[in-house]
């Protein structure tokens, strides 16, 4: 009986295998489109290869121009594939057209591990290499060879397998639309500005072609006509933009009228077609978001901590109330005179706009860095100017126990907090909500704090309302945004919607070396080594995490050391090419040291745009009193602390 069964299974296997071979021979029109484009792209890479190889001297201007011309052709071919490649294998994609020679990994899944180095390759780097004083054929060839190797990797079964179902398509498309609103129009991975618009046009056409083969092969889950006709309009809009003058591209209309509405439809389709992700690329993106300019677009940080799974609104309200009390209570500090609110003032958008850097504990001088606002902190990937902390909880614990900040110790704080009946009873009542904990822990306190202050990050700014077509904004705001995305080059580091260093798919933090001075006269570079302290490397010296420009108009002073006091000082700093542009020695500056040539009106427009990112946040009132302790001397402490 058993032998028979095995025999039948074997026969059936053979039938199945023979059928699977016949299927491979007749790929779908959609998959063939992918493979053909890949083949054509490989051919153009090989051609570029032979051009470089056959040139006797690559250092002549004529040779360089010829190579650049071939690079442009390759990149144009590549743009027809970017839709897929960026999603299907982001690491291999960076070898084809990555923007940086060296990247230190800080992605979600790696942030708990020691940072490690990834070297880039591909066209952008080859292009930049050609502009260097001394160039060698071997280096150039290696950059292109790596790009070709990475391209071939995209033919593997593990990649093409994903193209057999419709799921990947809507996720590729989501990333594509997010990139249309962030990097494709800003020159992020295209160093030659004149190519940005032509490449964008080519890309829109190629993706339109991907759409039609997709609809042919997956008729049960198609892109609807509504989407396709809006996409056609977007193509018309872009083709009507002047090609020769990149600076006049209307980013504002492009994103508001086309990209964002297309994103909304795609999100709807992801839900409707029950699209499933098998990629870590989608880790933080939220299926429920209906606009790129909405606060639920992605999850940057978990604010609930130990209370993660608490859904009960009553319990959440209790945690919030406790968080508020603790936030204003100097009981968390070593000297019972400082609280969170000492530096994060509600009336100052949860920072302190009066001081360059805050006082140390016990008035022993000042801290090294400017106080960051807590508003939108949950949308960071790593926290602090040097990215030292992975989570809000880690950050809060570090400040409370830092000897020069709040100077508390965990045991002492627990003892003091639990000496107040109000705290003790409320946290005890919440214990059943945290089954992994047997008793009230420091974790409970910190989680209440982060849950409390994170709620102030949910509000929108007038610019969001404009992008969501709820309100109009001034012409100067529109001009300012177009400058931000274009001529002023801000958007190559500050990505929508938070205009911080977290770019789609929102799973990593970027750091930049700007050459921030220690003083306004640019006498010397700030002594703060920044990211180098956490991850010592040539590239990380003086590098700082790119912060948000939301609420910037309300959160002076600026830069890690608070050296600038007005937005125009900051814009002048960038316009002058950062520290290197002012003659400071910054060998690894990532900001161009050339001037941006911004006019005074353009600077005012930029400020108008940044000001339109002021969020409308209700003012938080101080609690009337702090909980009573059984230690009499503790009851002298003041709400909010003393300094």
């Amino acid at each position: 009986m058993n032998k028979n069964a095995i025999f039948i299974t074997l026969v059936l296997w053979m039938i199945a295998i023979s059928f699977s071979f016949t299927q491979n021979d007749s790929n779908s029109i959609y998959l063939n489109n992918y493979l053909n484009k890949l083949k054509q792209f490989e051919k153009s890479e090989e051609h570029l290869f032979s051009v470089i190889n056959n040139l006797p001297d690559i250092e002549t201007e004529r040779a360089k121009a010829e190579i650049k011309n071939e690079i442009l052709k390759c990149r144009l071919k590549y743009k027809g594939l970017d839709f897929w490649l960026r999603y299907l294998d982001p690491l291999a994609q960076k070898k084809i057209n990555g923007p940086l020679p060296v990247e230190w990994e800080t992605e979600v899944f790696e942030k708990y591990e020691k940072p490690y180095k990834r070297e880039g390759a591909g066209f952008t780097l080859a292009w930049q290499y050609l502009d260097e004083d001394k160039i060698e054929k071997a280096t150039l060839i290696s950059l292109i060879q790596q790009s070709l190797d990475a391209t071939i990797a995209f033919e593997s079964d593990s990649v093409t397998k994903q193209l057999q179902t419709y799921h990947h398509f809507y996720l590729c498309n989501r990333l594509y639309l997010l990139n249309l609103a962030t990097i494709y129009t800003s020159g992020f991975d295209c160093p030659d500005k004149e190519s940005i618009i032509p490449e964008l046009k080519a890309m829109l056409v190629e993706v339109g072609n991907i759409y039609s083969t997709f609809n042919q092969h997956f008729p049960a889950t198609p892109l609807p006509q509504k989407y396709l006709s809006l996409y056609e309009d977007a193509k018309l809009f872009v083709s009507a933009q002047p090609e020769e003058d990149y600076n006049s591209f209307n980013h504002f209309s492009f994103i508001r009228d086309y990209v964002n509405p297309l994103f909304a439809i795609n999100q709807q389709l992801i839900k409707e077609y029950k699209v499933m992700s098998k990629s870590l690329v989608d880790y933080t993106l939220n299926k429920q978001a209906t606009s790129i300019f909405s606060k639920n677009l992605y999850t940057g940080q978990d604010s609930k901590g130990i209370f993660l799974r608490v859904g009960d609104t009553n319990a959440l309200a209790k945690i919030d109330k406790l968080g508020k009390l603790l936030f204003f209570d100097p009981i968390l500090s070593g000297n019972n005179q400082r609280s969170c609110v000492s530096c994060h003032k509600p009336s100052h958008f949860f920072t302190d706009t009066n001081t360059t850097t805050s006082l140390q504990l016990n008035y022993n001088g000042f801290l090294e860095r400017n106080t960051p606002t807590l508003i939108n902190a949950p949308f960071n990937h790593l926290l602090m100017a040097d990215g030292k902390h992975f989570s809000l909880h880690m950050q809060a614990k570090a400040v409370i126990t830092n000897p020069v900040e709040m100077g508390g110790t965990v045991d002492k704080i627990m003892e003091k907090v639990l000496s107040c009946d109000e705290y003790k009873d409320a946290f005890t009542e919440l214990l059943p909500h945290t089954p992994t904990e047997k008793e009230i822990s420091f974790e409970h306190l910190v989680s209440a704090l982060t849950l409390y202050y994170s709620k102030f990050s949910k509000y929108n700014a007038p610019f969001d309302d404009a992008m969501n077509k709820k309100k109009e904004v001034d012409k100067s705001v529109v001009n300012g945004f177009n400058l931000f995305m274009g001529k002023a080059e801000c958007a190559t580091c500050h990505f929508a919607p938070f205009f911080n260093g977290v770019k789609p798919p929102y799973v990593g933090s970027e750091f930049e070396v700007l050459g921030t001075p220690s003083d306004k006269e640019y006498k010397e570079l700030s002594v703060d080594k920044g990211r180098f302290k956490i991850n010592p490397a040539k590239e990380t010296l003086n590098a700082f995490r790119t912060g948000t420009i939301r609420n910037a108009a309300q959160t002076k002073p600026y830069m890690h050391n608070g050296v600038f006091n007005t937005m125009s000082e900051v814009i002048d700093f960038y316009d002058g090419g950062g520290g290197a542009g002012r003659g400071l020695k910054v060998d690894n500056q990532t900001l161009s040291s050339d001037s941006l040539h911004l006019s005074s009106q353009e600077k005012l427009d930029l400020i108008a745009f940044i000001t339109s990112l002021n969020e409308i946040i209700p003012l938080e009132k101080y609690p009337g009193k702090v909980p009573k302790s059984s230690h009499k001397e503790l009851n002298k402490r003041k709400v909010g602390g003393e300094y």
Binding site: A5, T9, T436
Partner: protein, 152 residues
């Protein structure tokens, strides 16, 4: 081309059904998978049963100092609670009337990727429902718990 692929599908489905039927005849019906959630309402959560030592120390435990061992045990115990809370319902098996936590292989315990590997995981193991540290704890628990001899 379409009818051809439909034919293929029919053949493959027939094959799978046959294979399942054969597999069912040949395997002994010893281990029953508990998919019926209603019978799981009375799972005992081991709230206060954590004193008994139910873990193997990692292979490199000789080089672990006391505080590292303490951290390990803490993570292990937390992992056990979170497992019972979130995972046990689908993964525990009933063997001879007793509920057993199955043994997972190392490739099955792949940390972050567990979150997205299966549709049900995307919902249940979302970052909103299971934090990164808790996921580490669960993996620690499943990796170092004493073997039950029942494979997942």
């Amino acid at each position: 081309m379409n009818t051809n692929s439909n034919m293929n599908k029919i053949v493959i489905i027939t094959f799978i059904m046959a294979a399942i039927a054969i597999a069912n005849c040949t395997t002994k019906n010893q281990v029953k998978k508990t998919n019926d959630y209603s019978s799981l309402a009375n799972i005992k959560t081991p709230k206060k049963k954590l004193i008994e030592i139910n873990y193997n120390l990692p292979d490199d435990s000789l080089s672990m100092n006391d505080s590292a061992k303490k951290e390990f045990v803490k993570s292990f115990n937390k992992g056990q609670i979170v497992y019972n809370l979130i995972c046990a319902k689908c993964h525990n098996k009933i063997v001879n009337g007793l509920e057993v936590v199955p043994d997972f292989s190392l490739p099955q315990l792949m940390d972050y990727e567990i979150r997205i590997q299966y549709p049900i995981h995307q919902e249940r193991l979302s970052p909103e429902n299971l934090s990164a540290t808790e996921l580490d704890d669960v993996v620690n628990y499943l990796r170092y718990k004493k073997k039950s001899g029942v494979h997942f």
